[in-house]
Subunit: 338 residues, 4 copies
């Protein structure tokens, strides 16, 4: 059993991750932490998240910076379900010690520092860890993840988008003159567990946001290898992302080549499911899966793919567990798929 | 045309009321106010509430206490869609002048001052206005409303509950040993337009609250004339209240007597609709109606009634307009029902 | 007062239309019809649609084909809220008489007969009426509508899409090598009032459908003037459509030119609202508006527009009323906007 | 490993049960059946229920009556997730052989035959099996379940209601002059997987139904031991039941006695969770738990309890697994709670 803890366990992602680790056969969930001045400090996690009531008997301990070094030497794995700024600030106290770090924030996902000022609103000064961090797209970067000291677990939208697009791009099937157009709709849990007018029940109604300026656009473009147009939306549901992606394929590409690209990428992968019909959000909510389906119009050369995930699981917690599984020598899906 | 304004126009009730007054043939909506330090001050109401975009061209003016007296002398009617504490604090500056006051808060609904300390968390020191205030249950208190200087517009739950129960109680059909049991479910807009964790989209899920201690329990009991058990719930919808009320009738009461009580109370009333099947929330959402339907088990003597309203309209804004209509000599439903 | 009736009044669109006509100052709603063998025949419309209870006191009369001629000579306007096949079958009995016909089905929206076999599943044999029918995109085709004997009221998705795209195409701002990519999400009422597994509450969850083969794709392309890629989705809400449209503009096009195109098309139009922020479904649900907002990335030349309407109103019933207003000499928005 | 199969596996309950059995360490899910003329016959269950895609590789076999005997001799346990009529019709072909039968329909829940004609619309002629059937309220009837040849798994509403009420009744805390008043709201999945207008997405809106005449009223009364008033509602959510129960306690009963009654009944029970705050539907959806919380007004003697379950799990599939666990000698919660 590998000893693990979660920092930032009071949020939705932290709660899901806590349950996954608690039920995992190879990881021991030893402790839950929140920031020192959190008003949730010392509460039991089951009192914040009713589904965990009596299931995890751990308090949310306030974590002092002065205790981070000891923690990093005690744990085998530390999961950070913290705000970007907190991950950024704490990383050099936590990383590079005994514990492997799995950071679910966006603070270490990109190598290019300029992105952080523009899209995240803070300057990233952790140059060394930015360079060392491995992007934890678990179905693609297995070899790097197995060696990583710090895994930057991908964002929810990039996970849905890259899983759909990488097979096509890598097989050189995309027309280079047309950017892939990604329209994605996320459930409100993606906004985190907090009081905010724009995520209050009465205010939420299907709407675009962050158009042509969302921080996941450079993340997708960078790990795909080509520019994309990414338009996120907030939907009136709690969990899940549906990404509908329209691409133009290169001249002469056939449906069979598209099919082969997906088969090659995912045949036998228990997490990515190549469906026989258009996936719904409900098919993947509360699951670790990414469901894909596509239709191609050979006359026009346009191809439409939809990709569905649970934003809190495949878009965060279960992908972090996939990464941890890989890093500690287990099958990617251990503890996630029966 | 009577000149009107709304104080507290940035919230959901204020926005609905603004549209009703704007479209009304006899009232002129002259101005919208918010409290002096509101961060919505000087915004256009259509920028806060998308459905009003380009429909009402009025800014939300910050209201200074020093301007209240002049306002009360200028207007024919002032509608207060303000917090209880604000209505309480400002009432002696506004009431008793030219303008008739229609207060949608709870600050003047009850005569018994002890209720305010226990249920509202503040001491009500406006004794004179407490005494003068008329309870604006528009389908029942028409004569008093016509004379009022200050109308305390009822709460949403009391409106749904009293409309269902008053015909039975007044006709002496209720068994006095069994309290009416009121289970009511409200949409989230009832919590107001604000950032709060417990009304955030991801947190909302059908749940009881305020059990055996909600401030609407004394309001219902007082205006019904007998004690009730009132259990409110928050539902996962935006607008509307469904109250399901179970009573035991007095020995020997027949279905025909129950029917007569409702017919006598509401036949010909265009606002209260005696339905032929169980009303749904959607039947009354965005409408000024209160829909009633009931079933009686003569063997056991138990009677179940459901009552459905839109909490923002019949439970607030449209009932306020009913009161204003009555006060200025019009039919109760003017501007509400075609 | 012009005398009107609705055929196919039992569905959601028919019910909305009935209320609009009932409240209209210039149209008299004289009768409601359903097909001869409808199981809703002889019911009161308020018993099917609770929001109309006691509001419209008209039964749903079964319409015999033998009575159609007399009806067409009696009425000034007949609204068909019928299935495509029924409108197709009945048109030569109804059109060309005294009554102007407003057909809300898809049976007469396109001139090209081959579309019907491919996309609608029936052969359109009404050649004469196909030629005479005027496409009722009310904010664009006002002059033709004023003369029409038969108005084919547009589909919901085409209304949302064309309102967003026509200003750009007509101003020659679009790059001709990139098809506009339209992703649209409709509420479930778009599927009509009927029992069907895929629109049952438990089954509905955000999902694409009809990809690269929906019947509204040729309708949009035809009335825009260029091919588009249209991907519809079913969303977990009752009413409304949000269309998110991504286009590449021609080289050198500026934000100012885009702005001018929209201003020129819609400045002063009370139905199409050029918003200052991204519209939500809730801003337009239960309203006759089409709300537009856009963002342009001058570096890449990509432009994203979202367009929001109520599918039952601007996408059907209120646009039919706009058409009738125009046809009978009134302002387009009469009875729709205060 | 005990060999099991499910008859009626195409519905929502069958699908949940299939996943529970598939993941169970002691039961082997050997086959899935549907009725002989089902249009789902020969489909893979993952094509009907997207969450099961690639998770259960079993077709839905059409079951002939002529094969039932052999099946009953081959299996250790047969789960019937069938309509009441089908369970009734097939029981003497299935029960009394090698397999223990777990019937999730209502056909064998009550001993009194007259109930079936009145509430279920068919005459129950299976007198012998009616007598032998054990009511599978798993947290209460453990000893009988351990011996049963046929377990009638309780209805969803009775499970929520009885779990809340039995501790009070058994401890003689209830006033006998006041019937317990049960108001319960169910998600739409309770209506089953089928096309029906009243469960279509657009029609569903919070509403009472089956008032004073629902078939679960006699089931609750019978297994509680006293008459109740039960009012079910349909809510606008997919899964879960919240029952709000108002009772009057006997004179002199204290909060401490109430607390003791619940502690005695459920302390240490991992399925029934005595909460510290009002449970939400979301706390129990997708879980096997029944969550309880209560508040008592000692002055009036009224007590309000809410009880929350997932209708498809604790109200059907997971309670069936609890029963099977007990019957085959395992802990009630095996395979359900970590």
């Amino acid at each position: 059993m590998f000893k693990t803890c979660i920092i930032g366990a009071s949020g939705y992602t932290g709660a899901e991750l806590a349950l996954l680790l608690q039920q995992h056969s190879q990881f021991d969930l030893a402790a839950l932490y929140v920031s020192e001045n959190s008003h949730d400090a010392h509460k039991n996690i089951g009192d914040l998240h009713g589904f965990l009531y009596e299931q995890i008997d751990l308090p949310l301990l306030p974590l002092k910076e002065s205790d981070m070094l000891a923690l990093a030497e005690e744990m085998d794995a530390i999961f950070l379900a913290t705000p970007h700024e907190a991950s950024h600030e704490w990383m050099d106290k936590l990383a590079g010690k005994k514990a492997v770090i799995f950071d679910l924030s966006g603070a270490f996902r990109l190598k290019d520092k300029s992105v952080f000022a523009q899209y995240y609103g803070f300057e990233n000064t952790q140059s060394a860890w930015l360079q060392q961090a491995v992007y934890g797209l678990a179905d693609w970067h297995q070899e790097q993840i197995k060696q990583a000291a710090l895994v930057a677990v991908p964002g929810c939208y990039p996970t849905a988008s890259l899983t759909a697009l990488k097979p096509l791009f890598n097989a050189k099937l995309l027309d280079s003159q047309h950017r892939p157009i990604i329209n994605a709709i996320s459930g409100v849990s993606g906004a985190g567990r907090k009081a905010a007018l724009n995520s209050s029940f009465t205010e939420v109604s299907l709407q675009a946001y962050g158009v042509l300026g969302h921080r996941h656009q450079p993340e997708i473009s960078n790990y795909l290898g080509t520019e994309v147009i990414f338009t996120p939306h907030l939907g009136n549901f709690k969990r899940g992302i549906l990404a509908t992606i329209t691409v133009k394929v290169a001249a002469g590409v056939s449906a069979e080549q598209i099919n082969q690209a997906y088969q090659q990428a995912y045949a036998g992968n228990p997490i990515v499911r190549l469906r026989k019909s258009w996936p719904k959000i409900d098919d993947v909510a509360q699951t670790p899966f990414c469901d894909l389906f596509w239709k191609f119009d050979s006359q026009s050369g346009y191809l439409v793919i939809t990709s569905a995930i649970d934003n809190l699981l495949k878009g965060a917690a279960s992908q972090a567990v996939q990464c941890a599984n890989l890093r500690f020598g287990f099958a990617s899906q251990l503890g996630l798929v029966n």
